[in-house]
């Protein structure tokens, strides 16, 4: 396959990623999706190249997805997971910055609880950097796989209406999706309890904020539920998870009032009975599991596009 080039060396977020780059990533992911469905789902493309997975915050699926993507492309993979306490956090970050420079890593995948850490890494290292989630700021690979998932069903996102529902305030998935969906021509509604959906979170012109689920139901083509961190939010941002479920959860009854061909997404893991009612898949099509498998293809595409060609490294 002809290797296209992205306009940036790094994937730090979708805020400024041009539509052509998104299209190139999705197109490349499509090719890798086919590879993943061959009898031997592995390519020698990144043989001899080194990828570092740097996870400062616990993660199961995103990390597994990046691991698998790197292995399917035959890259050498180093994984460091450090759930640091706030006392040692500074130390590990400074050390990491310095050590990275001496390890000759080609690409770093980084997740951190603080916004901006991938941006700082990108400033201080020669390696390409992929943001795998920085605090409540951005999670671009999740949004790209959501775009990939929707585009595979719809072919185009132009003119579609996507409701992102839940804790927008603390969600990096929501922020990246706002940028990605709007750039691909979709209309975005942000829906949730008022303290979790401040009006100035309508990051892009045209994005709408709605607090009444009943009004938006008939308009949406896709319902993207976000995970609610009950422990953190209950009694502070809303009264109880029961209240959340009854007011902002997608029940089977509510789903039945959505358009017949509308879709349901969730970045996982789902709190059943809070964000979504069990059995929802019998009412409308859910894409939750395909989101996971699409994640590997999209991340393979990103590694392929962002690991610098060997000749450049040698030079």
């Amino acid at each position: 396959m002809q290797r296209g080039r992205l306009t940036s060396r790094h994937l730090l977020g979708l805020e400024t990623l041009p539509r052509e780059d998104i299209e190139l990533i999705l197109k490349t992911a499509e090719a890798f999706w086919d590879v993943l469905h061959q009898p031997i789902p592995k390519l020698p493309t990144l043989r001899g190249r080194t990828i570092l997975n740097l996870f400062f915050e616990p993660s199961t699926r995103t990390k597994a997805s990046f691991d698998l993507a790197a292995k399917r492309l035959s890259a050498d993979l180093v994984s460091i997971s450090r759930a640091t306490s706030s006392v040692t956090k500074g130390e590990s970050l400074l050390d990491t910055l310095k050590n990275l420079e001496s390890m000759r890593i080609d690409l770093v995948v980084v997740r951190h609880r603080a916004p901006g850490i991938p941006h700082l890494l990108a400033r201080y290292t020669h390696a390409a950097v992929i943001n795998a989630g920085d605090g409540a700021h951005e999670h671009p690979t999740q949004a790209l796989l959501d775009l990939f998932t929707l585009q595979r069903v719809w072919q185009t996102l132009e003119g579609k209406t996507v409701a992102i529902v839940g804790d927008i305030l603390h969600s990096r998935v929501a922020r990246s999706n706002v940028y990605g969906l709007t750039r691909m021509g979709a209309r975005v509604l942000l829906v949730g309890p008022p303290p979790l959906v401040p009006k100035d979170l309508a990051l892009v012109e045209g994005v709408e904020v709605a607090y009444d689920v009943e009004k938006v139901l008939p308009e949406v083509d896709a319902w993207m539920a976000l995970r609610v961190q009950k422990e953190r939010l209950e009694g502070s941002f809303f009264g109880s998870d029961r209240e959340y479920f009854l007011t902002y959860g997608l029940t089977r009854e509510r789903a039945s009032r959505m358009k017949p061909d509308s879709l349901i997404l969730h970045p996982g893991p789902v709190n059943w009975g809070v964000e979504l009612e069990e059995g929802i898949e019998s009412v409308r099509k859910t894409l939750i599991l395909s989101q996971v498998t699409h994640g590997v293809a999209v991340r393979m595409a990103l590694l392929y596009l962002l690991v610098p060609p060997a000749e450049e490294v040698a030079a």
């Binding site: 603080a114 409540a136 979170l201």
Partner: protein, 429 residues
């Protein structure tokens, strides 16, 4: 007694409206004569030619963190004193949020004895309002005052307990000292690390809303009104705070306020860099806040500029935005940065800036021997070269810390010489 004459210099002393070429004669520790005319060099033992330079009253900083005791890795009284002189400050009020905090007369006496050993600026001390800065029980206000505390504050934290604050304000009413309030209601910002607004939302940084400041200021003002105590609001950051202060003052409440160089220089636009060197509390807010602060400084509604000099190690400040400590250096760059970015472009008169750094803070502290160039006053003087430039490089700073966003930049305005009580103490020998 030794006599030093500084002649052919541009005298700028806003308190008396002096602004023009003249000369100053120092005798011993005091100013002997000040005149907008030349004096006979034969009168003096030492003669300094001030051609092309300004002679200003020594600067007074209402708000510095000198970190001793407990934070000596960031700053000591020695390094803080040097940093102060390098920036033209001849009087500095050290904040009491040290470890242990300055909440006992014994510690205050020990620190003052340390300061007397230093050849440098007059370092004065504010003491804690509450024991251990815990906000729970009143400290020994009168014993601390007798030991030399010039003001009281739990700086770093607001005194949440209204009863406690009420009590200290009655002491203030009776004895006249200022109570310095770090006015910020913590229940309104919790884990906040940046100004709450469109930018913090976009970047996913927990916000500190303007209301956290205004709510606290309003309570403090009402207590000042009832008790008749003297309230000084530290580091004003939000536009709305100004109207609260102005209204209260118009109704006779005894209140003054300060603004920091960093709130005058930057806005939350810098969050886009994710560089924690800009992380400060209260946070850098939006353009309209900065403009309101500048306007209030021009008009005198914000009387004083205070540095909130807050040293932190590079190690602590190069971590992530959430865990990095709040604070920016200020002593060494306050005058030259505001000269460069506000006075030179015509956004603030030099006279008003100097007033806010000299006579205004001296008056807030009730210091009747400094802040202006009058015969008999302390000979605290700064010779300021407005045309020269200097680079804010690590090797050019005397603070033990380096946490200033100005690092690597070039500023106009160099402090050439500093006298403290008649003695030339800068440049360092």
């Amino acid at each position: 007694m030794k006599r030093t004459l500084i002649r052919q210099v541009h005298l700028l002393d806003p308190a008396q409206g002096l602004d023009g070429p003249g000369s100053v004669l120092i005798e011993g520790t005091r100013l002997h004569s000040v005149a907008l005319e030349d004096m006979d060099p034969a009168e003096a033992d030492v003669v300094v030619d001030g051609e092309g330079k300004y002679l200003l009253p020594g600067l007074v900083d209402l708000h510095a963190h000198l970190r001793e005791p407990g934070g000596e890795v960031k700053e000591t009284l020695d390094s803080g004193a040097k940093a102060a002189l390098h920036g033209g400050f001849t009087t500095v009020v050290a904040m009491p949020n040290t470890d242990p905090p300055v909440d006992r007369p014994e510690l205050l006496r020990a620190l003052r004895a340390r300061v007397r050993m230093l050849k440098g600026p007059d370092i004065l001390f504010a003491a804690c309002i509450s024991q251990g800065r815990s906000g729970k029980a009143l400290s020994e206000i009168l014993l601390l005052r007798d030991a030399g505390a010039v003001a009281f504050t739990d700086d770093g934290d607001w005194v949440r307990d209204g009863h406690l604050f009420y009590q200290v304000m009655t002491y203030s009413a009776a004895f006249g000292f200022p109570v310095l309030s770090h006015a910020q209601d913590p229940s309104l910002y919790r884990e906040g690390v940046a100004h709450e607004g469109p930018r913090s939302r976009k970047l996913g940084l927990p916000g500190i809303p303007r209301s956290s400041e205004t709510v606290a200021v309003f309570r403090d003002l009402e207590i000042a009104r009832e008790t008749g105590g003297y309230l000084h609001i530290q580091h004003v950051s939000a536009a709305e705070t100004l109207s609260l202060i102005q209204d209260a003052r118009a109704q006779g409440v005894r209140v003054t306020a300060e603004v920091t160089p960093h709130h005058l220089l930057w806005t939350d636009e810098v969050l886009e860099t994710f560089d924690p060197v800009y992380k400060v509390n209260p946070p850098l807010r939006e353009e309209r806040d900065r403009e309101t602060l500048r306007q209030a400084l021009r008009e005198g509604h914000l009387e004083a500029v205070a540095t909130d000099h807050a040293p932190h190690t590079t190690f602590e400040k190069t971590t992530d935005w959430l865990v990095a400590p709040f604070g920016i250096l200020g002593l060494e760059t306050a005058l030259s940065s505001l000269w460069t970015y506000l006075v030179k472009p015509g956004l603030l008169s030099f006279s008003r800036l100097v007033e806010a750094l000299t006579s205004a803070p001296a008056r807030i502290l009730g210091l009747k021997d400094r802040g202006t160039l009058r015969p008999g006053y302390r000979a605290d003087l700064v010779l300021f070269d407005p045309e020269a430039q200097w680079e804010v490089l690590p090797e050019n700073l005397y603070s033990r810390s380096r946490n200033t966003p100005l690092l690597g930049t070039t500023l106009s305005g160099v402090i050439r010489r500093v006298w403290v009580a008649g003695e030339e103490v800068f440049p360092f020998p």
